[in-house]
Subunit: 386 residues, 2 copies
């Protein structure tokens, strides 16, 4: 059996269960729906999707997306506040080019999304961390840092954090908006998991405050439809939209993805996006329940974690002094793997953590993965203590 079919980007042995993978199961990719959506949009002989598009993204797609987001968010989203992107990685790269210079300081969370840290490194930015607790980014520390620092921007993952799985509380959001408005600090909020909410509680996206605070909320179809589309959006103020549409990249190439936008436009109109998000929530809720049960059964008691309420990740903490990297060699031998905590730290700390995800594998494989991982860790820990 090949556990890893349908992973073009990652090359894994067929029997390896890589619990670090942060991408949707291949069988959850809406292949039939995208076929129908493409037929729907391309049969209309509308050539605008083949021409250089509006820099901001074509108006009809922004209207559809604004309506969709308004149906999901507590506040109305205006098409003027949207700029269509090639997904959050491209959006981040673009923001670094336009809003930062090499050597500038950028504030990141400790922990943060490890590949965002790599994009910042390519732009030669200097990273300074702000801790995250159970209520998200610790705004008091941010305030303190801003007494001496003038960063180019703050990069935050406010909802269902990657990897920490925490959500910035409403109170902290308001505090963050207050601080950043006062200091005129650009907030780049990576909200790729905002719509993958498995509980009934929800907090407004950071884009909500775009009229008072310099904030860019990054959204993406990667986690709610398909990563291969390379399609996402920024939700921000019309003034910041204008600054970005004047860039050389957008003036030269036109909108970032007019062809795929129009196909996704059809997918939204045909109701596929709403149905697909419902389906994902049902599947992921069930996986979380089963996977967490197995983790509790197989992981030693020293390993603690919170059950995620949204997003993709479980952030497992071990006692101070344990470096989860020491489990990896043995784990790989047993055909199981994970992402060590140090990967998510701009200064290679947080060694006593690991990131696990339930997004790629089905229940049974997750159970087997938990069993393999638990065995490796228990063995290693008993040797350490023996």
């Amino acid at each position: 059996m090949d556990f890893n079919q349908g992973l073009p980007q990652v090359d894994l042995p067929s029997n390896m269960i890589h619990l670090g993978l942060g991408q949707p199961s291949s069988h959850l990719l809406p292949s039939k729906e995208m076929e129908k959506a493409a037929a729907h949009s391309l049969s209309r002989d509308d050539r605008s999707l083949l021409a250089y598009g509006e820099e901001q993204g074509n108006t009809n797609f922004r209207e559809t997306l604004a309506e969709f987001l308004t149906s999901q968010y507590p506040n109305r989203v205006d098409p003027k506040q949207l700029l269509i992107t090639n997904g959050n990685s491209q959006a981040l790269d673009f923001i670094c080019t336009l809003f930062a210079h090499p050597g500038d300081t950028v504030l990141v969370e400790e922990p943060s999304y490890f590949l965002a840290l790599k994009i910042f490194a390519d732009h030669k930015l200097n990273l300074v961390g702000i801790p995250v607790d159970d209520n998200g980014l610790v705004t008091d520390v941010l305030k303190e840092r801003l007494e001496t620092l003038t960063p180019a921007f703050l990069y935050t993952i406010p909802t269902f954090h990657n990897p920490a799985s925490v959500t910035l509380s409403l109170k902290r959001r308001e505090e963050l908006v207050k601080i950043c408005t006062q200091k005129n600090l650009l907030v780049v909020a990576d909200e790729v998991y905002q719509l993958l909410n498995y509980s009934n509680d929800s907090v407004p996206s950071m884009g909500t405050w775009n009229n008072i605070c310099p904030v860019i909320s990054l959204g993406s179809f990667s986690k709610i439809l398909a990563p291969g589309l390379r399609l996402g959006w920024m939700h921000t103020s019309p003034a910041l939209v204008k600054k970005m549409t004047r860039s050389g990249l957008l003036t030269s190439g036109g909108g970032f993805n007019p062809f795929t936008s129009e196909i996704v436009n059809s997918a939204i109109h045909l109701g596929f996006l709403t149905t697909h998000i419902q389906k994902l929530k049902t599947v992921y809720r069930q996986r979380i329940e089963i996977f967490c049960d197995y983790l509790r059964e197989y992981l030693p008691d020293q390993a603690v974690f919170k059950v995620p309420e949204g997003g993709y990740f479980i952030w497992v903490r071990f006692p101070d002094g344990i470096d989860t990297n020491i489990f990896r060699k043995a784990a790989r031998k047993q055909n199981v793997d994970f992402h060590p905590g140090s990967l998510f730290s701009y200064r290679k700390e947080l060694k006593n953590y690991m990131r696990l995800s339930f997004a790629f594998y089905d229940d049974k494989i997750l159970a087997e993965g938990a069993r393999r991982l638990g065995k490796v860790i228990s063995n290693k820990l008993s040797k350490l203590h023996g």
Copy 2:
């Protein structure tokens, strides 16, 4: 009559004939073919086009593209030498991030593609020009400049230059390769018009020399299929491919456009790309003949130009001392426009030139445009001399 239907990116009055526009006519966009290609690729239930793709672009698409390019080029192209992009503007932006630092010198041609200059400005690069003559970039001047300068790279448009419409001769290409190999200077060759050749003569793409010289040849589907696809490629050495696939942007987001790549893969397999290029050549050849006839009829004798042998552009030269910007106000009043020469100069010179294109409008509209433009210019010149 609306002359400007199907221009999402540019907002023009319906009676305006903007002879500066460098994009294909709306009715030349292969809408039916893309519908069939999408149905072909999406009906196979291959989910790899919806997943995060290989950083370099998915193997099956690179194989198809390599085979296609091999059929068009004098030398074999290997899939290992290709990296799939979101088109040349994105490719240029990506190269600036990875291969240059703000403040670095980049060599550009004088004239050069005006929106590339804007992308370089966004990256805060310092531009130095190398002149272009009838045989393309003047390599002797390049050699001289390199005695004192150490640029991050050279940006050149070797074939059917935008805007100058000249082509770098084979002798000069060999000279360029020799100089850049010796100096280890990266050549970024924008070869978006390479396959739009209206004569029987052809010169090898700069990518041909990737095994001896540090060169990245940029190709795109924008001019040979449709700009809205936002799909292109780099043809370069496997070593440079590797450097780029290790970037944060590609590691995070995966390949730049797996979904659209797979649809274009079908378009190539179904023979649509080859047929479409043939069609474009037939249409453009005819337009050039008619448009040049009208330009000769209506433009005053002081205006000289060469008939293009490929690409999109006619580069019209006026006597020294004439600034073509002085024609623009009157031209716009008569509902005709063009791109003034200074736009294409990194130091706002070349004022006595203008760029015209035959890519967007049909014969009759081009004829009317030539008539309007000729009248405006003749009037203005007779006033100046009267």
